[in-house]
């Protein structure tokens, strides 16, 4: 809780200090978008805090859903709609599910576990608070007068993103597919090795082998398909896993 308090005070001080600096758009007369951003941001931050502090492991995953969903809303507020949907699809849809699977497969206890935090907690808290203070100070000091003009056409519409991605970022995009392939192979290798050794085949390896037939499809799909299909490829892969 001290972290939240510190963050709140930091936030408050920054608000106070930057009011005088912002001339055209004062911090004391926020727009509606800003109010919405602030509120969602608080929810997101609170959910993140609970995620890293709760003693119930499954609850942590669920609070992570809240935090990631809140971030998706923030993306929407920043007019980056495509990113927002990708965020929802991949993070909320697959990553958290994957994490929950992981918790179950490692026989994580349901309910409160007293030893969720390690003995490193106070060092971690110190480092995190100091880092937060430094970052907030630097960021506020640098950008207190910077204004984002959210009017006009959406900067992150699917059309704009797709054009940019396939006009300027094709090569990295393809390289990334290789990375994904490598990750896929890596996951399979890690699982199969364990299977070959242990007498009882673990569930993880079964899931990996089960998903393997769909891999070529999911890889080929974005190359063959149109601009709308490529965003789903990572999601499909993650979902398959």
């Amino acid at each position: 809780m001290s972290l939240a308090a510190a963050a709140a005070t930091a936030h408050a001080t920054t608000t106070i200090t930057t009011t005088t600096a912002a001339e055209a758009h004062g911090f004391l007369s926020p727009t509606g978008v800003e109010i919405a951003f602030l509120l969602v941001g608080l929810v997101t931050f609170g959910a993140a805090l609970i995620t890293v502090t709760t003693r119930q492991l499954v609850h942590a995953a669920l609070w992570l859903v809240v935090a990631l969903g809140g971030l998706a809303v923030e993306y929407l507020l920043l007019t980056a709609e495509f990113i927002a949907w990708v965020q929802v699809l991949i993070y909320v849809g697959s990553v958290v599910v994957l994490l929950l699977f992981g918790l179950m497969l490692t026989k994580a206890p349901i309910g409160r576990s007293p030893d969720a935090d390690s003995g490193n907690r106070w060092v971690a808290l110190t480092v995190a608070v100091v880092a937060a203070a430094t970052l907030v100070w630097v960021v506020v000091d640098a950008f207190r007068t910077t204004w984002i003009d959210l009017d006009g056409p959406a900067a992150g519409s699917t059309r704009a993103t797709g054009e940019s991605l396939f006009q300027n970022w094709v090569l990295p995009f393809e390289a990334l597919s290789v990375l994904l392939l490598a990750a896929l192979v890596g996951a399979i290798v890690l699982s199969r090795k364990a299977k070959a050794e242990s007498s009882s085949p673990p569930v993880n390896s079964r899931a990996a082998t089960g998903s393997s037939p769909s891999v070529p499809d999911s890889r080929n799909h974005p190359i063959e398909g149109n601009g709308r299909g490529e965003g789903t490829s990572p999601a499909e892969q993650e979902g398959a896993r």
Binding site: R121, F143, W147, S191
Partner: protein, 134 residues
């Protein structure tokens, strides 16, 4: 909208994730915290991209493209990470980070030359390590 709002939120989220990485014992919770940190970076990228796409005439939307890449990489990372955690859990029976201390030295050798029991402990530790990596 002030750029400071997303930037500060991003910084706070990042440090929250940092705290989680450093303080959590369960490896999967650590992975969750890593996701938080990555998302904080994503928020930064998006916010700055939106700002720059308005401020500059021509833009490559590099921020949003990088965000997408980051999301992809994060997905791959979480897959590999979970596979490793599961493998460790299967071999060691635990996924607690602070119990995986094979890189630490064995019991303290006080004498100038290693005596018998210490040597045995060391070899036992090495055997354990070999088993873990197998």
């Amino acid at each position: 909208m002030h750029l400071a709002y997303p930037a500060v939120l991003s910084a706070l989220l990042f440090c929250t994730g940092l705290y989680g990485v450093l303080a959590r014992r369960n490896a999967i919770l650590v992975l969750m915290s890593v996701e938080l940190m990555l998302n904080a970076v994503n928020l930064n990228l998006v916010a700055f991209d939106v700002w720059l796409s308005r401020a500059a005439e021509e833009t490559l939307h590099s921020g949003q493209a990088l965000t997408l890449f980051t999301i992809t990489i994060a997905a791959a990372e979480i897959g590999i990470g979970l596979a490793i955690v599961l493998a460790v859990h299967r071999n060691r029976g635990t996924s607690d980070i602070d119990k995986l201390r094979d890189t630490a030295e064995g019991p303290e050798p006080e004498g100038p030359e290693p005596d018998g029991p210490d040597h045995d402990a060391l070899t036992a530790g090495q055997a354990e390590k070999a088993e873990a990596t197998a």
